[in-house]
Symmetry: D2
Subunit: 342 residues, 4 copies
């Protein structure tokens, strides 16, 4: 059996660990051959390939990024895309595909399998942990560790210097990184996209904290929004790519807190630092097991499935189900954390 | 309600996070008062206490160790122990106890509740992750991260210098740390207590690895034992405390590999480094949630229970059940990992 | 002898290590007594003190921040300030002062000694490493390590995802952090305050880098300025504290690069993360030795001096000299690094 | 000009950084060509080479180990060795050699230049920092950071669990790592090879420490020896390679402390973990600058020289001088640190 592998979407620590596990187990236990497609769905679309065998995956386990490259190319949005993908698969005699990616990448896999008989197995990937079908996605634990370590560093300043310290972390639609890192880091305020925040309430928590002679640390997800409907970013401040990061909520909030409380505020914006570098042990474990189970599914002919974590088990769920709904932060969990606010 | 808190057994990152969560939520949401018992069950036994309120738990979240101290004191092994414990609780007007500890500490709590009506709630703690009733215990993820980072460091030497590198990690009865860190670190051999190892097989893997021009890394749990029944430690090499660490399996194995393969071998013995220092984000999250749910159980009067992790939920299980059986590594999981051996 | 100790200015990892070394050696070898002044020169000015003895410095070595607190209070800018300082010193029977701080804090010490006979010894502190009289200041190595680790994490993204990654690091007047972290992190462009940059040249390096199929990483000091004299920050964007951070050069540059090259750019702004947390081993070594030598100078009656590092030796230099000139990046060093640009 | 590069001796973080800097600057500024010799002096001896150009050094800066491999081969100890080296150099038209290594590797270079006109420039490398001609060698700061982090982790256990914690670090002939990491880590006892230790004195410090209700941490260099002349290792316990590590001083000392004080003791033996993994920022900076200045010396025809650090400057010193004398810990420095003992 000849298996194609591709990785799509944003960077996420653990991609290489998945690839390595697939190739090791596939080669040794099932005698599979592999083809690496470059840059996500661009690979099958344009016939961009690279060799993929055991020597080529040696040493990649602890490395962030992906040796296959990535892109956001979607064959369904390209003229004749599906036909071209199928031609490439035929040309390289690819029997099945493992697609590693987030909602978009797996959505393509789901549709290719459901509507075009392309034999696909999916491996979920999102640093934001917002996929409904799995307890956790790899990359998330690494991001949370990085953000937590950043918050830790701010604490010593908060103990001795009276400043408001704002940390902006990733999470455009779901606040998982903010919630976990904020709780693990002992933040005094955690703001997530799921719940619009009230700047005056934030300022109240800030003032409460100062009364303990210890400065406040505010963790804010990049997608968090103020209640009052104030526009953080005007239309014309969006860049060509529609991203707002360039004048983000962290800076805006720091300015507002300064203005309203009269206390100096400082911002750290972690940005892509959360997406790169070596994966945490948990993420390597999860990514490796995802890879082992994905290639097992391929060799059992169980297509249209995605691997997922349930408790300590790796299970399979239909790709269609997996990409159906965003997993946002449960209000009960957020309420549980709020005992530490202020 | 006045609640006593104690921590027993070996060190484990996350103990302070549990204590802090209990005190924060108990004080703020239930108006509980707290008493800290010193050094595990020695506290209630001898009336050794310390104040425990919100100011006293400030800043302890990221700190390893336990502000309450610890010991292996068991009131059931002390003359009149139970009566003395009950007297202390009466003296300090303690309505309920939260016991944070491993099999021994929780075993005492289970028996005190079942047989002596002492109102206890348990929080499981073992760095070895060998408690049956919970998916994970806090401290484990930190230990695995530390061991993985150590293995990572050995890889660069393995790439450029032809030496066998042996790492001895914790795990006297269960191989969880060795398995997770070995898999996450890309070890070439992983040896666990659950399965006696064959030194010749290990040497064969070592030789295989050298043929890839890359030196082997061998991860061995401190409790792993060779098949051939060779005594690693003679009776008289046991120290006064019955511990064998002082001439452990790592050094023994390195010597054997040198002797049998003629290749230079080096050992690293991580020891207590795996037990200390700041907890990982995952462990802080888990420990904090354990604390929040334990004090909730106390205030709901649900005694004789232990908090546990199931998937992403915190649940309650009877203390008696929790301490009944050691959770060892499933042979299937070990087999899954063996694709990376050699 | 009774010695007062104070810490002034911004946060800097290693302050506690200095305090601990002073107290340990002073108490044990010279039988000194100590008084901790709170919040820099505010302590002597307002008589704000705290006890300072061996138990109170236990465990603080690895902790960032300062147990004495800090401020930017300057007694020379306060009515009757010098007299009030001298009264406090008389009241608490303080024989000598150790002032730990940057240009401002040490400038006060220099003047108090030179003009008012207040017996002072200085310990230099600046995360920016821009003090002329010493090879290095503590805190700098920690900041460089943090920034380097951040750049490391971006590399894996740069290898697999075609984005321009901009990192803004500290350094308002001197580019030492940017230069060292940029070189250590393998940045493709390093921009420092000492040399105005040409955005078109930066874009040229960015394009060159993309041709190697590897995305560029741009390290920019917060005080770096474009050549063309474009105002990055308009007057009215300065906050009440005169700081420009809230819409800094990193974001500005990322926007310009996007506009001019058409490539997506992302920014990370490390901010105060560089100032906090546990000091690196080098900084603990340096801070500890500074403390040991400062208290030695006090007990030898060698006032008006500052400790400094020369090679591997701790020496003394006059306070007046030390604070006279900013140490900026030597153009030759910057040129040496430029072999890695593009 | 065609330049050969080789790395010899034990592993040391920063080797790749040196290689990269040499190749980048040599290629870009001097139009040099490069040849990589494999495995130290085995390369020139046996004609074992690999290509070495800018693409081949891309991405290696943060990686431990050496892409050129290493060995302890000495052409002067091999029949006809020098003639064979010269033949290889002639065959590959190598005009000059950069040898990166410790005493042995550089000793060969010194002799080849002095006695056989082989044009060599040296770059000093020793994790132990025991080279006399330079303030620091790269790799040392990394090793100290790793050992310090390990000690940090033990502190939380020392705060809450009453055990003696012994850490064995590298340093067979010089105690630099033990001294720096012990001081930076706040160890209570530091034992170095330069000064035989008195076990009873160590036990006295251990007892003193316990009286502060805080357990002692003992840092011992692998080459440290007890005063009483007790043989730690009997002749027949030396392995085939003459190494004693396999039953080292750390375990021996822990046993003795247990026996004499009745307190439980635990050992961590860091071993090769100190030699591998990514270099610290300082070591990358130093290694990079060493590389830049070495290739400059080559192109200026200044042979028989070694680059060295003096303060913040890179200077050149004769190879003969550099390898003449071991730099051991100055008794004054050790005395300075002893204020923290006990």
């Amino acid at each position: 059996m000849r298996v194609g592998v591709l990785t799509g979407g944003g960077d996420c620590p653990g991609l290489n660990a998945v690839i390595r596990a697939i190739v090791r187990k596939g080669t040794q236990e099932y005698d599979n051959e592999f083809i690496g497609f470059r840059d996500g769905w661009r690979g099958p679309l344009e016939g961009a390939v690279r060799p993929l065998d055991i020597p080529s995956v040696r040493g990649i386990l602890p490395r962030g990024g992906t040796i296959l490259g990535s892109s956001r190319t979607n064959p369904f949005k390209v003229d004749d895309g599906v036909r071209r993908v199928k031609e490439t698969l035929a040309e390289f005699e690819v029997d099945a595909l493992v697609a590693i990616g987030g909602e978009d990448t797996l959505g393509v896999a789901a549709k290719l399998w459901a509507e075009h008989d392309v034999r696909c197995v999916g491996v979920p990937k999102t640093i934001d942990n917002d996929l409904n079908a799995t307890d956790y996605t790899f990359g998330f634990d690494t991001a949370v560790n990085i953000a937590t370590e950043a918050i830790d560093r701010l604490h010593t300043t908060a103990e001795s210097h009276m400043r408001v310290l704002v940390v902006e972390v990733m999470g455009r639609h779901a606040g998982w990184i903010a919630l976990h890192a904020g709780l693990a880091g002992g933040a005094n305020v955690i703001l997530i996209p799921e719940q619009r925040f009230d700047v005056d309430q934030v300022c109240e928590w800030v003032r409460t904290r100062f009364r303990t002679h210890y400065a406040p640390i505010v963790v804010v997800a990049e997608g968090a929004m103020p209640k009052e409907g104030e526009l953080i970013v005007k239309e014309d401040e969006l860049d060509a790519f529609g991203h707002v990061r360039l004048s983000g909520v962290g800076d805006w909030l720091a300015k507002e807190i300064q203005k309203r409380t009269g206390k100096e505020a400082r911002t750290s914006v972690l940005g892509h630092i959360q997406r790169g570098g070596t994966p945490s042990a948990f993420d390597r474990w999860l990514a490796t097991r995802f890879g082992l189970h994905a290639i097992e599914a391929v060799n059992e002919g169980d297509f249209g499935q995605m691997v997922a974590l349930r408790g300590t088990d790796i299970v399979r769920v239909p790709l269609s189900e997996a990409t159906a709904k965003l997993k946002t932060v449960d209000p009960k969990l957020y309420a549980e954390a709020s005992v530490f606010f202020g």
